[in-house]
C-alpha cells in the first residue's frame, strides 16, 4: 500500500495586514460540521404529517411492462398513495430532451423499462419502512426484451432499439471540420491512431439524494427542498415537467450538502417524481435515496468509445487531429446531456497548438442508467485518448514523451489564444510550468529510480500528462450539438450569469448571499475573505449565506455549483457587489470627513482619509446611515442597503456559423508526472511518486485549492485503479454496493506532490480560474501512461485492476476445465451459482421423499417461505422473501419436477421472479439409505440470476447462498427428527423457490 509522507501541519494564517484573499484561514463552516450540528437535508425537520416515499425499480434492463398490480400495496395500513407511470403522466409532462427528436423522457417507466433501477412505482406511506413493506406487495409483470450495454454494439445493425425516435439508438450524429485536416493528414509523414473505451464511473458523494416536496392545490404551486446542486437551468426543466410556470416552483437547497461532484445535478428527475407524489397524496412527501439506489440508478459519468488519429511530423509536431467519439448516455438523454460530449469541444486540442481538426460526434443510448454531471465532465474521456496518443506518438517516433509534449505546447506569448475549435485560452505559460515541475518534482531522480528498479527486474514506469482545465462553462456550448441552422431557429444561448448580493443591516454589519450552492468547498469562508478585503473588515465580520431559494433570491440559469465556476465567477461577482456598495459608502464618508471620495480608504473597521488616517469614521456608522438617515446621504449616493450584481463574461459568445465555440471562460494548466511500480506477483499498482503542477490563476485560499487537488486526485485514482459501474451483457448492474464498487481508502491514496504557478486570468474579477476538476482529467491518463511504460503495452483500459493487468503480463486466462454439472441454459452475463453437497437426514428415503414433495413441509423448512401451492403433483409455486445485504424482496418461484425416480432421485427445474431480480435453476437430488435408518441426500445445482440482486456481487451472494442452504437442511433435518449437513450447496427444492434466484433468508 502506498503511504503518504505526511508533512508538518499547515500553520493557519489568521493575522497580519496583508489582504485576506490568498490566506488559508480556518473555515467558518467547520465548527458546526465537527460537532454534529450540520444541517443536511435529512437532518432538517419536516412539517407534521409529512409522508415518506420509496421507489419500486425495474430488475430488468429492457422489458415491456405488461401489468402492475398495486392493490395489495394500496390496502396496507399506512399507505397513502401508489403512483405508477400512468399516475405520474396524469400530472406531469415529459422532461425535455437535449436533442431534436421525437422522444420522450419520463422520470418513471411508462410502458417499458430501459435500465435496471428505472422507477416503476412510487409508494407513499406514513413512514419509510411501511412504504417498503408495500413495495414488496406490488406485482409487476414484465416481458423481457433484448438489452444492449455497449455503445458500439448499440450502433450495430440488429441491436435492440431503445427508442423509436432514436433509430439505430443514435440520438445525435454531427461532423465538424476546422482548418484543413484532410490536407494535413495527406501530407504528414506519420499517422498515429488509438482506440479507447473509457469506462463508466461516478464520484459517488457519501450523502445520497434527498427531496422534500409539497403542493399547494389552491395556487397550483410546488415547494421543493432538495440537495440539488445546479445548474439552475434545470429549474426550467422541472417546472415544465410539473406543468407550472417558474414562479410556481419554489426550489430551495439545505444549508449543507454531503458532497456532490456534479452528481447531485441528477436528483432532478426525482424532484419531479416526488413533487408529483406530493400532489397526488395531497401532503408533503419526503424521499431519501439509499446507497443501492444511488449506485444503481442515480447518475454516472458517460462511458465513451473514441478513435483518435493524429497527423504527425517527423519531429513529433502534431499537425492535425481526427476525433471519432461515440458517447454513451444510457437509457435516456436527460438534460443537460449530451453536454458531457460538448463541454470540451473548444479544448479538443488540449494544451497544444494544432490548427487542423476533424471531429465526428455520435451520441447513443444503451440499457444503462442515464448519465449526467460528474467531476471532470468530459475531460477524463477526452484527455485519456489525447494523452495516451501523445505517448504512442513518442514511442512510435523513438522520442521521449516529454519532448513530444513540449514540441506541441501553445507558445507562452500567444495568449489569449484561440484554439482551432473556438476556445479562447485566457492566460498561461505552459513551458515555464513544466520546467518548474520537472525541477521541483525531481524528474531526473525519478528516472534514476526507474532505471534502478528495471535493473532489478521490477516493473516500473513513468507517465506524463499535460492538460488544459476549462472552468466557468458557457451556457451556450451545448447548442453546438445543433447545426447552425437549428441554432438560428432556436435563438442564441450563451454566457454564464453569476449573481452576488451584499447587504448592510441597520447596525452596519455585512451579509453576503450568492447562488453558488456549495457541497463542502467552503464558499462561505472564501466570500468572507473577499468581501472583508473590500470593506477593510475581518472575515468574521462578514456573514455569508449560500442557501438558495428561487422564490426570493437573485439567481439565473447558470447559478449553482458546477464547471468549477465559484472562484472565477461567483467570488469575483461578490467582489464587484461589495465594491459597488463601497463606492457609495466612500461618497457618503467623503462628505462626512470633508475629503474627496478618491481619498477614502477602508481599513481596520474604519472608513478613513488616505492622506490623514486620523480623519476617520467607523465603518458600521457609515454603513448604517442608509437605514437611519437616508435624508442625510449625498443626493447622488443612492441607497447602500443592498446591492445585487449580475456578471457574465463577454467572452462567452454563442457558437459561430462555423461551429467554433468558446466553451469555457477560464483555462488552467496542469502538468503531471508520476512513477508507478507494479507488483509482479499481485499485479497491484503502487504509486511511487505523483507530481502535479497547477496554474489556476490567482489562488484565493491555498488550503482549499490543495484540498480540491487532493480530493480530485483521490477520485481520479479510484477511476484509474478500482472503480467501474459494471454491467453484465444482459444489462444487470453488478456493482450495487460499496463492497463491489470500490472507493480508494486511506491505505490506497498517497499524498501527491502539489506545486503551483499563478498566471492570473485577465477575464475574471479576481484573476482566479477553476481548479476543482483538473486532476479528474489528468490523473487517470497519467497513471495509465505510467502503467503502459512499466509493462511495455500499447492498449490500456481502465480501471487497472490486477485481473486486467494479468492479461497483459500473463496472457488471457485459460478456459475452465471441462466437466462438472451440466448447466441449464442461461443468458450470457447472468451471475451463476453452482454447487453440490450432501446432507444426512433421519428417516428412510421414502420418508424424506414424501417430505420433499409435501407443500406444508416445504413451507416450514424453506427459509423465508410465505406459502407453497401445489399446482400438480410435479409443479409447485412458492412465495419467498429473502434478503442479502441491502437487497431484500419477495419472489415468486415456479418449479417443476422431472425424471422422478421415487424415492431415489429427482430433477428440479424452475425460475423465480421478483422486484429485485430473477433467476433460473436446475438441480438434481438423490436419496440413498445410509445403512443406519437414515438417508444420505446428495444434491447439485446450477443457477443463474440477474436483475438488481446481481448487483450485490459474488462475495456476498455466495456466502448468503451457503447460509440459506444451511438453513434449509437444518430445518429439514429438524423436521425429520435430527441429522445434519455436509458440504455447501443448495437446497433441493430451495433450488427452486429461493435459490433459483437468490440469496439469504431474512427470517
Amino acid at each position: 500500500m502506498v503511504q503518504a509522507a505526511v508533512k508538518p501541519a499547515s500553520s493557519v494564517d489568521q493575522s497580519g495586514d496583508r489582504p485576506w484573499v490568498g490566506r488559508s484561514i480556518e473555515r467558518v463552516e467547520d465548527a458546526a460540521l465537527l460537532s454534529g450540528r450540520g444541517r443536511f437535508i435529512d437532518d432538517l425537520g419536516v412539517q407534521p404529517g409529512t409522508l415518506h416515499a420509496t421507489i419500486l425499480r425495474s430488475p430488468h434492463a429492457h422489458a415491456d411492462v405488461l401489468s402492475i398490480d398495486t392493490e395489495a400495496a394500496r390496502r396496507l395500513p399506512g399507505v397513502a398513495a401508489v403512483l405508477t407511470g400512468r399516475d405520474v403522466k396524469a400530472v406531469t409532462t415529459s422532461l425535455v430532451v437535449g436533442v431534436k427528436a421525437p422522444v420522450e423522457c419520463w422520470p418513471i417507466a411508462m410502458d417499458r423499462v430501459r435500465y435496471v433501477g428505472e422507477p416503476v412505482a412510487v409508494i407513499v406511506a406514513t413512514d419509510r419502512a411501511r412504504a417498503e413493506d408495500a413495495a414488496e406487495l406490488i406485482n409487476v409483470e414484465y416481458r423481457p426484451r433484448g438489452a444492449v450495454v455497449d455503445p458500439l454494439g448499440a450502433l450495430a445493425s440488429g441491436a435492440p432499439v431503445l427508442h423509436d425516435g432514436f433509430p439505430g439508438n443514435l440520438a445525435s450524429d454531427r461532423a465538424f471540420r476546422y482548418g484543413d485536416p484532410e490536407k494535413a493528414f495527406a501530407e504528414a509523414p506519420h499517422r498515429f491512431s488509438i482506440d479507447i473505451k473509457y469506462p463508466r464511473n461516478s464520484c459517488t458523494p457519501i450523502e445520497t439524494y434527498g427531496v422534500i416536496a409539497s403542493h399547494d392545490a389552491g395556487e397550483d404551486a410546488f415547494e421543493v427542498l432538495a440537495n440539488f446542486q445546479g445548474p439552475f437551468s434545470i429549474h426550467t426543466v422541472i417546472a415544465r415537467a410539473l406543468k407550472v410556470p417558474g414562479n410556481r416552483l419554489r426550489l430551495r437547497t439545505p444549508p449543507d450538502s454531503g458532497g456532490s461532484f456534479g452528481v447531485k445535478q441528477g436528483v432532478f428527475p426525482y424532484i419531479v417524481l416526488i413533487a408529483a407524489a406530493a400532489r397526488v397524496a395531497g401532503k408533503p412527501v419526503k424521499w431519501i435515496e439509499d446507497r443501492l439506489e444511488h449506485l444503481t440508478a442515480s447518475v454516472s459519468a458517460t462511458n465513451r468509445a473514441t478513435t483518435l488519429s493524429a497527423a504527425v511530423a517527423a519531429d513529433g509536431k502534431i499537425l492535425a487531429f481526427d476525433w471519432d467519439q461515440v458517447e454513451d448516455c444510457g437509457a435516456h438523454l436527460r438534460a443537460p446531456e449530451p453536454a458531457t460530449l460538448y463541454r470540451m469541444h473548444g479544448n479538443l486540442t488540449g494544451a497544444y497548438d494544432i490548427r487542423h481538426v476533424k471531429i465526428r460526434n455520435r451520441v447513443v443510448v444503451t440499457n444503462k442508467t442515464p448519465t449526467g454531471l460528474n467531476r471532470g465532465f468530459g475531460g477524463p474521456q477526452v484527455y485519456f485518448a489525447l494523452e495516451r496518443l501523445v505517448q504512442r506518438i513518442a514511442i512510435g517516433l523513438g522520442l521521449d514523451p516529454l519532448v513530444v509534449i513540449k514540441r506541441n505546447l501553445i507558445d507562452a506569448g500567444a495568449f489569449p489564444y484561440r484554439t482551432a475549435t473556438g476556445a479562447l485560452l485566457d492566460s498561461g505559460n505552459y513551458q515555464e510550468a513544466i520546467v518548474r515541475a520537472v525541477e521541483q518534482g525531481r524528474l531526473a531522480e525519478l528516472k534514476s529510480r526507474r532505471d534502478a528498479a528495471r535493473a532489478e527486474g521490477r516493473l516500473y514506469g513513468i507517465g506524463f500528462t499535460a492538460v488544459v482545465e476549462p472552468s466557468v462553462s458557457n451556457m451556450g456550448y451545448i447548442t453546438t450539438v445543433l447545426t447552425a441552422a437549428e441554432r438560428r431557429k432556436a435563438g442564441p444561448k450563451n454566457g454564464a450569469q453569476a449573481t452576488a448580493t451584499v447587504g448592510l443591516d441597520p447596525v452596519g454589519s455585512v451579509t453576503v448571499h450568492v447562488a453558488s450552492v456549495p457541497q463542502g468547498q467552503g464558499h462561505r469562508t472564501v466570500l468572507s475573505q473577499v468581501v472583508a478585503d473590500v470593506f477593510g473588515l475581518q472575515p468574521g465580520d462578514i456573514r455569508v449565506n449560500t442557501e438558495i431559494d428561487t422564490a426570493k433570491d437573485a439567481w439565473s440559469i447558470a447559478s449553482g455549483n458546477y464547471a468549477s465556476r465559484f472562484a472565477a465567477a461567483v467570488a469575483g461577482t461578490a467582489k464587484l457587489a461589495a465594491e459597488r456598495v463601497a463606492g457609495r459608502l466612500a461618497r457618503i464618508a467623503a462628505g462626512q470627513l470633508n475629503v474627496e471620495a478618491g481619498d477614502i480608504v477602508f481599513a481596520k473597521g474604519f472608513v478613513a482619509s488616505k492622506h490623514n488616517p486620523e480623519n476617520r469614521i467607523a465603518f458600521s456608522r457609515v454603513a448604517a446611515l442608509s437605514h437611519w438617515s437616508p435624508g442625510s446621504l449625498p443626493d447622488d449616493a443612492g441607497q447602500t442597503i443592498r446591492e445585487t450584481v449580475f456578471w457574465t463574461p463577454p467572452e462567452l459568445t454563442p457558437p459561430d456559423e462555423d461551429d467554433r465555440i468558446n466553451s469555457s471562460l477560464c483555462h488552467g494548466f496542469i502538468f503531471d508526472f508520476c512513477g508507478v511500480e507494479i507488483d509482479r506477483v499481485t499485479l497491484e499498482t503502487r504509486i511511487d511518486r505523483y507530481v502535479t503542477m497547477h496554474d489556476c490563476g490567482t489562488i484565493l485560499h491555498p488550503g482549499m485549492v490543495n484540498g480540491q487537488i487532493r480530493g480530485g486526485f483521490a477520485q481520479a485514482l479510484g477511476a484509474a485503479l478500482y472503480e467501474e459501474y459494471a454491467y453484465a451483457d444482459d444489462g444487470s448492474f453488478l456493482t450495487g454496493t460499496l463492497a463491489d464498487y470500490l472507493l480508494p481508502t486511506t491505505t490506497e491514496v498517497p499524498e501527491p506532490e502539489i506545486f503551483h504557478m499563478e498566471t492570473p486570468s485577465p477575464f475574471t474579477p479576481l484573476g482566479a480560474k477553476g481548479v476543482g476538476e483538473g486532476n479528474c482529467m489528468s490523473t487517470p491518463v497519467c497513471l495509465a501512461n505510467a502503467v503502459a511504460d512499466a509493462l511495455g503495452v500499447a492498449d490500456i483500459t481502465l480501471p487497472l485492476v490486477p485481473a486486467r493487468l494479468a492479461e497483459f503480463v500473463r496472457g488471457a486466462e485459460p478456459p475452465p476445465p471441462a466437466g462438472g454439472v451440466t448447466a441449464a441454459p442461461m443468458r450470457e452475463g447472468d451471475r451463476r451459482l453452482r454447487g453440490e453437497g450432501q446432507a444426512a437426514v433421519k428417516g428412510v428415503p421414502e420418508q424424506v421423499w414424501a417430505m420433499l414433495l409435501d407443500p406444508a413441509t416445504l413451507q416450514s423448512v424453506i427459509p423465508g417461505c410465505q406459502r407453497v401451492d401445489k399446482v400438480t403433483d410435479t409443479h409447485f409455486r412458492a412465495d419467498v422473501t429473502l434478503g442479502i445485504g441491502p437487497v431484500t424482496g419477495r419472489y415468486r418461484a415456479d418449479v417443476e419436477l422431472f425424471d422422478l425416480d421415487p424415492p431415489h432421485a429427482v430433477t428440479l427445474r424452475g425460475g423465480a421472479t421478483g422486484a429485485l431480480g430473477f433467476g433460473s435453476a436446475e438441480g438434481r437430488i438423490t436419496l440413498a439409505p445410509d445403512g443406519q435408518g437414515g438417508t444420505t441426500l446428495t444434491y447439485s445445482y446450477d443457477a443463474a440470476i440477474g436483475g438488481k440482486v446481481a448487483s450485490i456481487g459474488g462475495r456476498l451472494l455466495d456466502g448468503a447462498t451457503r447460509v440459506i442452504i444451511g438453513q434449509f437442511f437444518t430445518a429439514l433435518a429438524r423436521k425429520a427428527g435430527g441429522g445434519g449437513t455436509t458440504g455447501s450447496g443448495f437446497s433441493l427444492f430451495a433450488v427452486l423457490a429461493k435459490l433459483s434466484s437468490l440469496f439469504g433468508g431474512r427470517r
Binding site: 467547520d30 458532497g259 472507493l743 499524498e751
Partner: protein, 172 residues
Amino acid sequence: MTRLNSNARHAVRFTLNGKPVEAEAEPRMLLSDFLRHQLGATGTHVGCEHGVCGACTVIVDGMLTRSCLTLAAQVDGCEIRTVEGLAPSADRLGVLQQAFRRNHALQCGFCTAGILMSLDHYLGENPAPTEAGIRDLLSGHLCRCTGYTPIIQAALEAAAQLASPTKETSDA
C-alpha cells in the same frame, strides 16, 4: 432472551453522551435511524446502510460500532457516544476537532462524524500513534472530498497535543 413483537413498538433506553434517553422503536429499526429520527441526534450520518462507508460509526459500551448494522433494540441499557458528545461545550471544540479545522481535514463534513469517533476511540487507547496505524484504522471509512491526508495529519497533530500536558486544549 427477550422476544420482541415485530408489529409493536418497544421502549429503548440507553445513555447517550452521558445522559439517559428513551424512545420507542419497532424491532426492525436501526440504531442509526433511532439516533437520528427518534432522538434528534442527527450528527451521526448514514452513507451506505451496509457497513462499508463508516459514516455512521458510534461507540457502544466502549466499542466502535456501525450504527447502520445495529438494531436500536440491541443497545437497550448500553452507553453510547456520538459526535455530539465530543466538544467540551457548545461553543468550544475539542483538541481533535480543532486539529481537523486547522488542517482542512473536512470539506462537506458528511463522513466526518464517523471518522472523529473512530479516532477519538483509537487515540484514547494509542496515545502515540503512527501514521501507518492511523491509516489502517481509517481504512474502514470512506471520504470522497479530502483525499485523506489532511485527516491523517490532523489525527497525528491531535495525538501530539494530547500527549503534551501543558497546552491549552480547547478553544471556540
